[in-house]
Amino acid sequence: METTLLKRVSDSEWQIEPHEKMRVPAILFASEALIRDMDAKVYEQIVNVASLPGIQKAAYAMPDAHWGYGFPIGGVAAFDPDEGGVVSAGGVGFDISCGVRTLLTGLRSEDLPPIKQSLADALYRHIPAGVGSRGLLDLTDHQLDEMLADGAVWALRLGYGTASDLERTEERGRMAGAQPEAVSDFAKNRQRREMGTLGSGNHYLEVQQVVAIFDEPSAKAFGIRHGDIVVSIHCGSRGLGHQIGTEFLRDMVAQAAGYGIELPDRELACAPIRSPIGEKYLGAMRAAINCALANRQIITHLVRRAFAEVIPRAELTVLYDVSHNTCKVEQHQVDGHSKEVFIHRKGATRAFGPNHPAIPEALRATGQPVLIGGTMGTASYILVGTPESERRAFSSSCHGAGRQMSRHQATRQWRGRQLIDELASRGILIRSPSSRGVAEEAPGAYKDVNVVVEASEKAGLSRRVARLEPFICVKG
């Protein structure tokens, strides 16, 4: 993207003044280098978002923003239903409530070398990954509805986890306001046998080592030290979320004109929050959030099983669980007043600062953990929400490295087998059913996650706490 299109507010903030149909400005948080690398489509998409009815303050793009569907990935926008605000299926994205959960293990890096191979094999055996993989469960209609209503709380009822897991999950494991009856039979059918599966594409499970601590007090509060071993799970609501996204996008496109909404791009499909289809979408989308929370909870259980088999003294506890494709009702400051808004985060992580009531008590004084997925060859990060994140972008931060190369380019540049060997020589074990899948996810296909989190920190969206590097990566 050309920087000449933007007004430079600071080294880490760029603005697009309202013009033509824009109702509010668009603000991009990024370094100059990241802006230059950013797809020109991000400009177009964030301008479109800023033109939607009822949008509050500004449309925001996070430092890892790239071309998405309607909304840019890395897009954040809040809407007020009293001002005709909308909810957008594209603004949530297809993989509803995709997110990251990080588990502490109580193990240290020196514990890993003797068990690394067997742990990698055990994780790969226990956690279904890749195309066509099936979970342990085959849910009845009734069980599906319970899962969609109660999320991780439902998974606990089945014995997959402990109460303390819920405490460390956004929404305490259960998204309120879910309407299983708003979810189509098609969406339910796609999920029936997929609970507790990782999926494919950019989804993964990693065993990681804490290689750097940037903020000792926050790290201490999060229970992490230099040299600790942690596990991170990145996946979402699987086929169910996608089916919901697809169906509502289609319906919202068809109904938009009837609500007087002019769509500059069909993928931006949206409907008034206060409309039958808007309300139905919110009910279905919340059910999909529950599906993702239950899914990550079951996978947590499977990870525990795998560890118990290999190193029984490991004690796996949840550090935190974040979702980065959601629309949630939150209280935010707008024009000096606190008000309830519907905030879309598409490829963006909620990042509440210290003392927010939604943060678990043990972490409240510190701020919300913000879990950032990297690539299998580089690094991931644990960040924390800052006091100013509320003012900057409705308490939102980046979500990952962000792709910079297409899958096609990646497969031309790398061979899966070669990449797996190369990573193995660096001590990183990959387990995947598909070598082409590995090539498509080559670390070089992504932006430098270090640069992305630095930009987030500079912009005041979140602050670095720890850097993690992978030892084992299970890829779908």
């Binding site: 489509k41 999926g199 594409g201 068809a254 297409s406 082409r436």
Partner: protein, 146 residues
């Protein structure tokens, strides 16, 4: 991954879209373009030539226009493959206005033989186009989310 088949009139290809992939079917008729777009969809997952035609599934769709119909057709295939644990390799499409009658032939996913690289989560409205080239051939394309 094969970029495209032999340069006959009826063929498929992939095009680039950020993190995802675009699928494009080209044919002498709109029907053929729809069939080829489906082959392109399969090629995102695996090599279509590796899929044996052991079972036949019929698909019916209806939409307001040809473009939405293409998205519906591809999404119906994604759905059928997901719930049946199948992968398709060959397709036949018959169009009656905005109504599509489709047949897909395939088999159960065999990870060892098909080596599926990635699940397609769905077809999208991005770079969606159904229309004719100046030479009269038809194009049916959109980006799929993986």
């Amino acid at each position: 991954m094969a970029q495209a088949q032999a340069d006959s009139r009826s063929r498929w290809e992939h095009f680039t879209h950020g993190a995802d992939i675009g699928v494009r079917g080209i044919g002498a008729t709109k029907e053929e373009a729809f069939e080829q777009a489906a082959v392109a969809l399969i090629a995102v997952i695996s090599e279509p030539m590796r899929v044996a035609a052991r079972r036949e599934i019929t698909i019916e769709c209806e939409a307001a226009d040809s473009e939405v119909l293409l998205v519906d057709w591809l999404n119906a295939l994604v759905y059928e493959m997901a719930v049946r644990g199948m992968i398709f390799g060959r397709f036949a499409v018959r169009l009656e206005g905005i109504r599509l009658h489709g047949t897909a032939w395939g088999e159960e996913v065999d990870v060892a033989r098909h080596e599926p690289a990635v699940e397609v989560k769905g077809a999208t409205y991005t770079s969606l186009f159904v229309g004719q080239n100046p030479d009269g051939s038809w194009i049916a394309q959109c980006v799929v989310d993986v």
